[in-house]
């Protein structure tokens, strides 16, 4: 059973930030990670700040140059947003296979990011889109890249007094493919064994930008930058794709656990990166043909 815990329920962002500054507390959004953790610990928990009433954190705004997503956006909101399939194709692919529909209705983008889990499915797509995060505290706001936000296993750059309030990124340009694949042990409600997101931009037959983000194969979700570099500057060929896939596998630092061995995870990274890059090259290339 869920042990007792204290719940603060601010009505405004200012009030929430004041509470965060003055009390040792953890922001609670969908609760799909924090509450099972509390239940598993079995001991009376600390203090949570509910974000339920903070309307400022809801909503998705699209402009030509930027997508701005409120931190309390749920996974279901992503699926219901009509512009999202073009604004972040990988994010939509991810949301479709994120847990199951009940969890999708509760789990939030910010919660998934701030929990800092290496298997956080929201992160690889956003990382592959160069997403930026805006954090607010009573002292003011700051914006940093998602890449800089992720520090280590369940460790992020968020200070205890800060609240992640929004996520933003530039929507993919023409000639860009943005793909995601989740490898799990079953189709619904699975913790990811390997998650891969890639973004590839092709201009005049050459790859001008590559992003490869890998989940569940290191203490944190990370970008395989060496693999990315192997792709930029020319067309993607079986050779360059193979080199990049190999580099991505080598950059992975997976562990053995109940879901899979490290060895298998590295193999899967190799295969999936190769597959997604091949598909991305075909998709992005065809947009120009």
């Amino acid at each position: 059973m869920l042990p007792p815990f204290e719940l603060l329920e601010p009505h405004s962002l200012d009030q929430a930030l004041k509470m965060l500054a003055t009390s040792e507390s953890v922001p609670l959004a969908g609760g799909t990670n924090l509450l099972p953790d509390l239940r598993a610990r079995g001991e009376a928990g600390g203090r949570f700040i509910s974000l339920a009433a903070l309307d400022q954190l809801h909503g998705i705004e699209h402009s030509d140059s930027r997508v701005l997503m409120g931190a309390r956006t749920t996974l279901s909101d992503i699926l219901h947003d009509p512009l999202m399939p073009t604004a972040a194709p990988s994010l939509v692919s991810m949301a479709k296979v994120f847990a199951g529909s009940m969890v999708r209705n509760a789990a939030t983008v910010a919660g998934n990011i701030c929990y800092g889990s290496p298997s956080a499915d929201v992160v690889p797509p956003l990382l592959s889109l160069d997403a930026e995060l805006t954090l607010a505290s009573a002292a003011g706001e700051r914006t940093l890249s998602l890449n800089d936000f992720l520090l280590d296993y369940k460790k992020t750059a968020r200070r205890p007094d800060e609240l992640l309030i929004s996520v933003s990124w530039a929507p993919p340009t023409t000639g860009t493919a943005n793909l995601f694949y989740k490898l799990g042990r079953r189709r619904g409600d699975a913790i990811t064994v390997v998650g891969v997101a890639v973004t590839i931009t092709i201009e005049k037959g050459n790859c001008t930008k590559a992003r490869i983000a890998l989940g569940s194969v290191a203490p944190t979700v990370f970008r395989a930058q060496e693999a990315e570099e192997a792709l930029v500057g020319g067309p993607l060929t079986a050779t360059t794709i193979g080199t990049a896939a190999q580099a991505a596998a080598q950059a992975s630092r997976p562990i053995d656990d109940i879901r899979a061995s490290a060895d298998y995870r590295r193999h899967a990274v190799h295969m999936l990166v190769r597959r997604l890059l091949t598909e991305a090259w075909q998709t992005a290339g065809s947009q120009h043909d």
């Binding site: 079953r186 619904g188 597959r275």
Partner: protein, 775 residues
């Protein structure tokens, strides 16, 4: 949905008005509307909440258990440890049937005393004002352990010099089958194929965990309302705590899934003790993580088949070794091993046969009953071996099966002659045909088709002398009551009795009310296990209803001046068959009976065929009443880069004898398709030094709604079974071939068999790499 009826069936001309039809089950509306009451929904004034402390060591001495801090906590009413228990110091974990016979060494401590033998063994019970206080009290119980060496592998347990956990040698049970001349059989073989198959622990993962409420009533009767498959456990509760049998009343509520996990007693005796100690009603609903520890999962098996085959695919000799991990206590392991032994050759006739089977004790979770009860593990090896034989011979595997199928009139493993229909070939052929064309392979996916047949018993072991009673009566307004202590574990057990009674008495099914599952006031019906509930209670109910029908018709026959045979009953009317205008309403017929002092009710007992056991040296003898046969076929897509397996189609084709409720049969097939898929691909209780690593539903992976393939049920009806109207048991049988069909489909897709379940993506990749390196 296809239905094939046998023209040769003994009751082929019987006109059935309700039986076999997909009628709405009597329990469906209440479950759909959410009004059905389960044991965890019950509440009483003054009710306390219980919590159980389970050992977190697998093998240790209990140096000291100090409950003083827990007892001092406000709101705690009682804390019980082994020191507080009555002297019997144990609870029966056997299934004595209706006669009380027990296998040896099946008592298990109610609470651990002096030492713990598995991680999860119960040590202390708490009853408190609410669940939060009860949980807090658990944390205040201080335990001092002294760790002991443990054994976590059945082969280690059987090795010389192993620490002894059970009996003299850690052997919980063993069987031998010696049939024909195996040397001669191998000498005649053109090929010998040997393979070893292994299966994993599987958790029942019922939706509803263990739940019960117990209290002592104003007559000093201990009442328990529980989620159980067996109300006869009231006797075991009484014996364990030293009460007369007639002072314990156990009632089964609707059960939210049993699958064998609620066959042996789970939490009832704990609540009985707490209710007696606290003199208050006490309820427990096990949290999921403790539910994993509170019943017994499916036994892991290691199975080696050494098969001699002639060039034309005929089995000339078969030597089988079966080893199961019983865990720390016997529970039903001896019976489960017997089922595996009898099922070891699947639906095939093998004249030269050696089987050696053993179940060994370890410090792992005690394994117990789970749908299929050992047969399905044994069948998996058998059906995998069929594919390997076919591959070696370059034959179609169905053709190899056809050359070896057992037929009606043949002797099975134990020399028992099969009397009912054996439609293995028809079922397998139809299931495979229903898979249809294979989608084409892509660059990274390979499509595979697989089939598996089986032989699974229904009804309990003959020397248990099984019986079931049922009472049927007609009220003065023509409505009908059935009383049976059958437990309704979600497969339509009580609804089937209404449908059978409605058929016999000619009343619509919704005019029949079934009172079920009460160990004190409904006639005892035996367990809802062993695919026996419909077979046994269906027969008893049919017998009782038929007697009532006879009584009623005899009155009407006199009234119309005709013979009983000239009358029929339908739509709550009794009418003359050749002159249907001459009829009488059932309620008026009942009045006639009442006026003449004729019984409008009947209590019947159905007794299953019995025998006295098997020869210990040869394993020969009659073990079961009868067997069900059928097949399952699967179409899978395997990603050869990642090893992921997706089941695309899952087809069950079974000779069910006679469907009582067609929709219920389809439900069984559909459920089994997913449960078998889980066993084949993703479900596994992983234990590390006896400690459960996958003790939650996010780590123990049952298929979800998103993993459901296209499922079809093909129902064949030979009307040759021992159940009512020729029905056979189907609850376990439909499950028996599923995992094997998926394993065979994967092998078909990638060209190499994976001998170890579950078939994880990782194992697929490993198998593909090994295949590549041996090229």
């Amino acid at each position: 949905m296809n239905r094939i009826e046998s023209p040769a069936a003994s009751t082929a001309n019987l006109q059935l008005r309700q039986v076999g039809k997909p009628l709405v089950r009597t329990d469906s509306p209440t479950k759909v509307y959410g009004t059905a009451v389960y044991a965890g929904d019950l509440t009483m004034p003054g009710m306390l909440c219980a919590a159980v402390l389970h050992s977190d060591r697998a093998s240790a001495l209990l140096r000291h258990v100090d409950t003083s801090r827990a007892e001092a906590l406000a709101g705690v009413h009682c804390v019980l440890t082994a020191a507080d228990l009555p002297p019997s110091q144990g609870v029966m974990t056997d299934m004595p049937g209706q006669t009380g016979g027990l296998t040896k060494n099946t008592k298990q401590p109610i609470l651990a005393k002096d030492r713990v033998r598995f991680c999860g063994e119960p040590i202390a019970l708490v009853a408190a004002e609410n669940a939060a206080i009860a949980e807090q009290a658990l944390r205040l119980i201080d335990i001092e352990y002294e760790d002991l060496d443990g054994i976590y592998d059945p082969f280690d347990a059987l090795a010389p010099g192993a620490p002894i956990i059970f009996g003299d040698d850690n052997v919980v049970a063993s069987y031998k089958v010696r049939k024909g001349d195996i040397e001669k059989g191998f000498a005649e073989a053109d090929f010998i194929v040997e393979n070893t198959f292994t299966t994993q622990y599987q958790e029942q993962a019922f939706l509803e965990p263990e739940a019960a409420l117990a209290w002592v009533d104003e007559h000093e009767v201990l009442n328990i309302r529980s989620s159980t498959q067996v109300v006869e456990h009231y006797r075991a509760v009484a014996d364990a705590i030293g009460l007369p049998h007639n002072r314990v009343r156990l009632r089964a509520e609707f059960v939210g899934g049993g699958f064998g996990g609620k066959e042996v007693m789970t939490i009832e005796v704990w609540l009985a003790l707490l209710a007696l100690a606290s003199r208050r009603p006490v309820q427990l609903v096990q949290p999921r993580e403790r539910s994993f520890l509170s019943h017994g999962p499916r036994h892991p098996f290691t199975m080696t088949h050494r098969t001699g085959v002639s060039g034309d695919g005929k089995i000339t000799a078969l030597q089988i070794k079966l080893t199961s991990d019983a865990g720390a206590y016997a529970k039903l392991s001896p019976y489960i091993l017997l089922y595996a032994t009898v099922g070891a050759t699947g639906p095939y006739r093998v004249d030269n046969l050696h089987i050696d089977s053993v179940s060994a004790a370890t410090n792992n979770l005690p394994a117990c009953a789970f749908r299929g009860f050992g047969t399905m593990q044994a069948n998996l090896a058998c059906e995998g071996q069929m594919e390997e034989i076919a591959k070696l011979l370059g034959m179609d595997s169905m053709e190899v099966r056809r050359r070896n199928f057992i037929h009606t009139g043949d002797a099975n493993v134990t020399g028992q002659i099969i009397r009912s229909a054996v439609w293995s070939d028809q079922c397998a052929t139809q299931a495979l045909a229903t898979l249809g064309e294979r989608p084409t392979d892509t660059q990274t996916t390979r499509i595979g088709h697989g089939v598996a047949c089986y032989q699974q018993s229904y009804g309990r072991i003959r020397w248990m002398k099984d019986s079931s009673e049922a009472w049927v009566g007609v009220e003065m307004d023509g409505t009908v009551i059935v009383r049976s202590a059958v437990t309704d574990i979600g497969a339509g057990q009580s609804s089937a009795l209404a449908q059978i009674t409605g058929e016999i008495l000619g009343v619509p099914m919704d005019q029949v009310v079934v009172y079920f599952g009460d160990g004190a006031v409904t006639p005892l019906a035996g367990t809802s296990t062993a695919s026996r509930a419909l077979y046994m209670s269906g027969n008893a109910t049919k017998m009782a209803a038929s007697q009532v029908r006879k009584n009623l018709l005899s009155c009407v026959a006199g009234y119309f001046g005709v013979k009983i045979e000239q009358l029929d009953m339908c739509d709550s009317q009794v009418f003359i068959i050749d002159d249907p205008q001459r009829s009488i309403a059932l309620k008026d017929c009942v009045k006639l009976c009442a006026a003449e002092g004729v019984h409008r009710h009947n209590l019947a007992i159905f007794r299953a065929p019995t025998s006295e056991g098997i020869d210990p040296e040869t394993g020969q003898g009659e073990v079961f009443p009868d067997f069900t046969y059928g097949a399952h076929a699967a179409q899978v897509a395997v990603d050869i880069e990642t090893g992921e397996v997706k089941v695309l189609k899952s087809i069950g084709a079974h000779d069910v004898g006679q469907a009582i409720n067609l929709r219920a049969v389809e439900g069984q097939v559909e459920g089994s398709a997913l449960m078998g898929q889980g066993f084949a691909l993703c479900e596994e209780l992983i234990l590390k030094q006896g400690r459960l690593q996958t003790g939650s539903l996010s780590e123990y992976l049952i298929p979800t709604s998103e993993d459901v393939p296209e499922i079809k049920a093909i129902v064949l009806e030979s009307r040759s079974g021992l159940g009512p109207f020729g029905a056979k048991g189907i609850g376990e049988p439909v499950y028996a071939p599923v995992a094997a069909s998926i394993a065979n489909a994967v092998a078909d897709a990638i060209g190499v068999h994976i001998f170890e379940l579950p078939i994880t993506p990782e194992k697929v990749i490993k198998a593909l790499r090994e295949k590549e390196s041996t090229k």
